[in-house]
């Protein structure tokens, strides 16, 4: 395919990608009941995308919380409102940073490896071999990874948020001297469990988990069966996931607020 044709068709191609991604989602969802027979495979994927991501999620959550505590302290000090730093750290982590940063890290840490793994299965004809053996690759390979991403994301996001609060507390209270009691009481009086934790953390990260893992498995499953194709698919996973996360973030915020 020449570059000329490629450029002319770029819009149609993107539309085609979105369309086939949607159709692929339907196939995956249809295969979910059958994939429950391979529940051990789902658990193994959950271990891989969830438990193995904990280190990066916890480290990043800690640093995001710490930097928020530090930045907000200095801004709030201008207005003499450093006692509000607990509630501001909590609200910004719950409503935005927690779900979004977790999803971006997840796309980079777990999404790429899902894409590369499925893409290599495609390139080395393992998927064709499964079809030959009457094993549905959607039910055995794709759906467990999709489910694992869907389950792992909210859990990772909760861990991220808890670490973020801990980091904010560490900087705000232990280092900068915000009063411990006002830090917590301000936080507990502003954070609403339905608005901020259920809607902000849980539903958002479920949405991000669905989108990230769908993009990862779709890019892997539809990759060109060459080493170059796998490389492109992995890159596209990160790019498409990041764009989708931020766009979906706006939409979900508008709906859930």
């Amino acid at each position: 395919m020449s570059a000329q044709v490629h450029r002319e068709n770029v819009v149609l191609q993107s539309l085609g990608q979105i369309g086939s991604c949607g159709l692929f989602l339907l196939r995956v969802l249809a295969a979910v009941p059958r994939s429950l027979r391979h529940v051990r495979e789902t658990v193994r994927q959950l271990w891989f995308v969830g438990a193995m991501s904990l280190t990066i999620i916890m480290t990043c959550g800690l640093f995001v919380g710490m930097v928020l505590g530090l930045q907000l302290y200095h801004v709030l000090a201008i207005f003499g409102g450093t006692s509000a730093s607990g509630s501001v750290v909590a609200l910004s982590i719950y409503r935005e940073l927690g779900p979004v940063v977790t999803a971006l890290l997840f796309a980079g840490r777990a999404g790429t490896s899902i894409t590369a793994e499925i893409g290599l299965m495609r390139a080395t004809d393992q998927i064709a071999a499964m079809e030959m053996m009457a094993v549905d690759p959607i039910a055995y390979v794709v759906a467990p990874r999709f489910l694992a991403g869907l389950i792992a994301m909210p859990l990772l996001c909760c861990v991220f948020c808890a670490m973020g609060i801990f980091g904010g507390h560490l900087v705000g209270v232990s280092w900068l001297g915000v009063d411990n009691g006002t830090f917590w009481s301000n936080m507990t009086s502003t954070v609403d469990v339905y608005q901020d934790i259920i809607n902000g953390v849980i539903w958002k990260s479920v949405g991000f988990g669905a989108v990230c893992s769908l993009i990862a498995v779709f890019q892997g499953y539809t990759t060109a069966p060459t080493s170059e194709g796998v490389a492109y698919a992995t890159t596209r996973t990160v790019v498409a996931s990041s764009i989708a996360i931020l766009a979906l973030d706006f939409i979900l915020t508008a709906f859930l607020m």
Binding site: V43, A51, C158, V159, A162, I165, T188, D192
Partner: protein, 297 residues
């Protein structure tokens, strides 16, 4: 087998950790930590204006949380808000004639319902009703009272309307107080430009209590303080006849423009002062600064 077991255990630990984090977030860092536990009973109260009161806002006695706002709805067919308060059973001894007031915590804080105890011997029960309520005070109203230097006229005995024409009303707004000797006797109900005479017609509604105002009184627009709001001051005249509904105040003094005042200072009262004072004021007397009836029609 052993390898599979290790990741199964690890996955289980991951899930437990995730849920533990969720429970921690929900119970330790959110409003659930503040919300009451245990049995509660419900009483309702009606407010004319609830301001920004939200559901689950605290209900407090002497600043101590005793419950929360359960629901807010509009009383059908009336313009009053029906607020139902869920109060902890521990605090069952609230006198039936207590007063419920909507307060704001701090200048920018959230609103809550404060309950002040009455003296009745019987207590509020489940499904009870707090009859005495005080609605939220809009900040504008409170600031207006401060800056206006006094309370608005209560207008219980009815009002009558008087008109006055000004060449310049400055920043006079509808609702501004009308004062005589510094006491609020009414309020401005309308400010309109007259399309024919090209001046501003101000309609004031004055409390009927003050029906002895001479009909040759003058109306002037003053500012309370340097940055305060503007008000209409009535300066009584000497006529034996009193103002009646629909009358027009003939003698008026317009709002003084700060720019004009500064201009007069800068040119140290020279003849150009009258030209500087041209904010629509085509008063032939010229030296408007010494003439209280500038803009007389």
């Amino acid at each position: 087998m052993s390898q599979r077991k290790s990741y199964a255990v690890g996955t289980g630990m991951f899930i437990v950790l995730g849920f533990a984090a969720l429970v921690y977030l929900a119970t330790q860092t959110s409003s659930i930590a503040n919300s009451h536990q245990g049995a509660s009973y419900t009483v309702d109260a009606q407010f004319a204006n609830i301001g920004a009161l939200k559901e689950r806002a605290p209900v407090k006695v002497a600043g101590v949380r005793i419950g929360q706002v359960q629901s807010i709805s509009l009383e059908p067919g009336k313009d009053v808000a029906d607020v139902s308060l869920s109060i902890d059973k521990k605090y069952a001894q609230i006198p039936a004639d207590s007063v419920a007031t909507i307060y704001t915590s701090g200048l920018l804080g959230d609103q809550y319902v404060g309950v002040q105890f009455g003296n009745a011997k019987n207590y509020l029960a489940d499904g009870g009703h707090i009859g005495l309520t005080k609605s939220t005070q809009p900040l504008e109203e409170m600031l207006g009272k401060f800056l206006g230097g006094g309370s608005a006229a209560d207008a219980i005995g009815g009002t009558y309307n008087v008109k006055a024409s000004f060449t310049n009303v400055g920043a006079l707004a509808v609702g501004a107080p009308v004062k005589m000797a510094g006491v609020a006797i009414g309020s401005v109900t309308d400010v309109k430009a007259d399309p024919v005479k090209l001046d501003a017609t101000v309609t004031m509604s004055i409390d009927k209590k003050y029906n002895q105002i001479p009909d040759d009184s003058a109306a002037a627009i003053f500012t309370s303080g340097l940055i305060g709001s503007q008000y209409v001051a009535i300066q009584p005249g000497g006529s034996p006849n009193s103002l009646k509904d629909g009358d027009q105040l003939v003698l008026t003094q317009s709002a003084v423009q700060l720019e004009d005042l500064i201009g007069k200072f800068l040119v140290s009262g020279s003849s150009s002062g009258s030209n500087a004072n041209n904010g629509g004021n085509n008063n032939p007397a010229g030296n408007g600064s010494s003439n209280p009836n500038a803009g007389k029609h």
